[in-house]
Amino acid sequence: MNYKILKRARILLSLVFLVTITAAFIFFVSRETSLFSLFLKIQFVPSLLGIFSGGALVFVLLMLMTLLFGRVYCSTLCPLGVFQDIVSNFTNRFRSKKNRKYSFKRANNSIRYTILAITGVSLIAGITLPLVYLDPYSNWGKISNEIISRSEQLIHNGLSDIFPQTIFYRSYAFFALGSFLFALLFMLIVIIFSAFRGRLYCNTICPVGAFLGLTSKLSLFKPVIDKSKCNRCSLCVTKCKSECIDLETRTIDESRCVACFNCMQVCSKSGISYKFTFKSKNDKTQEGEKRESDIESGERRRALIAMGLMGTALAAKAINLGPVFKSAPKITGIAPPGALSIEHLKKNCTACHACIAACPNNIIHPASGEYGIDGILLPVLSFNHHFCSFECNECSKVCPNDALKPLSIEDKQLAQIGEAQFYLEKCIVHTDGTDCGACDEHCPTKAITMVPYGDTALYIPSLNTELCIGCGGCEYICPAIPDKAMVIHALAVHGRAERPTLDKQEKIKVDDFGF
């Protein structure tokens, strides 16, 4: 096999994924194109969490790929992985040739398998919290949204000053300091890791890397060093960003190998290649290989445990096992349409912030304490600067996990995400005795109507919560200061509003102007 071509194909594909996924976060998916957001769904964690709602195909393909060739995902599809390769490559340009070299390092098994176990057990218990902080795709989403997209915004707005009539000013998105700092810190850690130790994050912290690594133990084809060809020149070792080639034993730790093909491509003796390695026990008779196969069977056991965890997590998901523990029941956060309930959101969202990027009104923000401590960074609505468009369902469409169920416009227009409450004593009509009606003006379902107010000539809002979907138009526009007279309260479980009445009226034909 020509590994040069394979490597080039890998690099090309990986760049396509990195660019498209990042672009999905920069360009509002709803406006420019929805093409990019498709790539968000070809990711490991999203396909796992969305397995019962369209993710199954991608999940099965990713698993098959791993069981055949190892961690192809990590080197080719994972945007964070590709980003790390770029960082390593870039920093190497400032190093002397000698300092560019990687060397073999022992695996940090206790750390990575502990993290994997915690993530797996949490997932079974219906808690995605570890993935919120550690999933590589979701964190690349946060980095794209908080750092890359904001940088693009500066450039975009600079251009809008130069071409004011053709390039619109991108009003600055809501800034959540916590989320920004998390993304920045995460990015810095990954940059430092990859600048000095290649794929250290992937092989020490990343739960997806650990899981796919264990799965790779079972894969049919593995990179193997041909002992008859190898002259221990160590060229492959110096190129291995996973630092997983041990020349002493002339073995490759396939649990850490990310299938980048660098070693295969660089070996002048063609000493490393993919080999069909599914051995039966009878093959391992030689005394010298006894210990090796013991280690191997230990690792296989671990791999099977990991698969077992995954299977249990899927089973738990299938029977919809609730979260084992819940944070304080006080809920103030309004979950985006399609979230079904805050519980469902917490069980499926890994805070990739695709919905936040997709919202044309910038009303979805990373949560701070609205959902409790286990809901930090999850998407939450705020009506301070805008409200949820009646004709828009972008957030639900873009979610690659199962966290936001895709809603048709018709369903979205009936999906109750919150419920308005009217505080008469705050209302301008009541306090100032003047006309207002701003809430009624914005209400898309006419849950709010204006009715005669006492003996005055004024009209006051009247609220029918059965019709209210919690879009927040009324709260956003209510001019009462400091407390709004219309406030949307969160619903822990989303409801379904009554269909707005048709208000049929007679079609009147006039022949006169009336004056």
Partner: protein, 310 residues
């Protein structure tokens, strides 16, 4: 000849008005626009483009208002993410025809914008106004951020003394106000004066500080539109100004034009009253504006031409 014709029209028109007939039924169509100095023109029964053409001719033609080389702004109502048939926004065909006419009059550029309530790009797109205006060569101006607005003082304002107005209005030579006729839960009606809420940035202030007074206050702005063209091809008679369904819409196919914003609002309310009871007193910003000498509600004293098509 023209004067004689005019007097004839005026007398017959007055008689016709008294017996609730319309003057134009008594004349051949060709003699419709006998006078180029009408104060108010009302058109009924045609398609938007056709009604505009007849209406503007009766107002003396667009060249009376738009001069060669001028920068023109056309300000429709594009407040909502609704398609034209919902009557939440100004009719796109009407806007296109006005744009076209301004260019014929020699306008150097025509800009169309509104400070929308719903998300602006969807409003521009789904109202049909962006594509219609651009097809005739107009520019759509951005109006979704405070940065596009400039501070203006209103020395005659009672509650609204200072306001942020869109730079396109400030920078243009003339502007044309093209609202759509709708009922409104807060202001009762939204017509020409209420359409000024789309040239300002902070609408919330108006709602919080006596909406009706603020609407009138903003109409004391020194740079008033040279024409107010009220689109009543489709009108929203209930659940306005956003509307819920197509049921909220009546289709009277009418159009009103005047340089007097109070007069055109008065005419529109009286027209609307035929569909749903609405007194001028209820729409109190109209009366306040008259008191503030913005214009007159006494349209019976104005030179009004009524045109019927078909």
């Amino acid at each position: 000849m023209e004067r004689r014709n005019f007097i004839k029209t005026a007398i017959l028109g007055g008689l016709a008005g008294a017996v609730n007939l319309n003057g134009n039924n008594l004349f051949a169509a060709g003699k419709m626009s006998v006078s180029a100095s009408n104060d108010l023109v009302a058109v009924m029964g045609g398609e938007p483009r056709e009604m505009y053409k007849k209406g503007i001719a009766a107002m003396g033609g667009i060249s009376k208002y738009v001069k060669k080389g001028q920068k023109v702004v056309i300000k429709p109502n594009i407040g909502w993410d609704k398609r034209p048939e919902f009557a939440a926004n100004t009719n796109p065909d009407l806007i296109a025809e006005i744009v076209k006419d301004c260019f014929i009059a020699g306008a150097s550029e025509v800009t169309v914008f509104d400070h929308t309530c719903d998300e602006w790009q969807s409003c521009y797109r789904n109202s049909g106004i962006e594509s219609a205006a651009k097809a005739e060569g107009a520019k759509m101006a951005f109006a979704h951020d405070e940065k596009y607005y400039k501070r203006v003082t209103l020395p005659n304002g009672v509650r609204l003394k200072e306001v942020l107005i869109h730079e396109a209005i400030i920078d243009c030579d003339v502007w044309i106000n093209v609202p759509v006729l709708k009922n409104h839960g807060g202001a009762r009606m939204t017509i020409a004066m209420k359409n000024f809420m789309g040239i300002v940035w902070d609408r919330r202030f108006w709602h919080a500080n006596d909406l009706q007074q603020c609407i009138a206050d903003c109409a004391t702005y020194t740079k008033m539109p040279v024409l107010n063209i009220v689109d009543a091809y489709r009108i929203m008679t209930q659940n306005g100004p956003k509307g819920k369904s197509i049921e909220d819409v009546q289709t009277p196919k009418a159009l009103f034009i005047s340089a007097d914003i109070v007069a055109v609002d008065t005419a529109a309310v009286r027209f609307f009253n035929q569909f749903r009871q609405m007194t001028l007193e209820e729409v109190s910003h109209i009366g306040i504006a008259e008191k503030m000498k913005v214009g007159t509600t006494d349209i019976d004293k104005l030179k009004v031409e009524r045109i019927r098509i078909g």
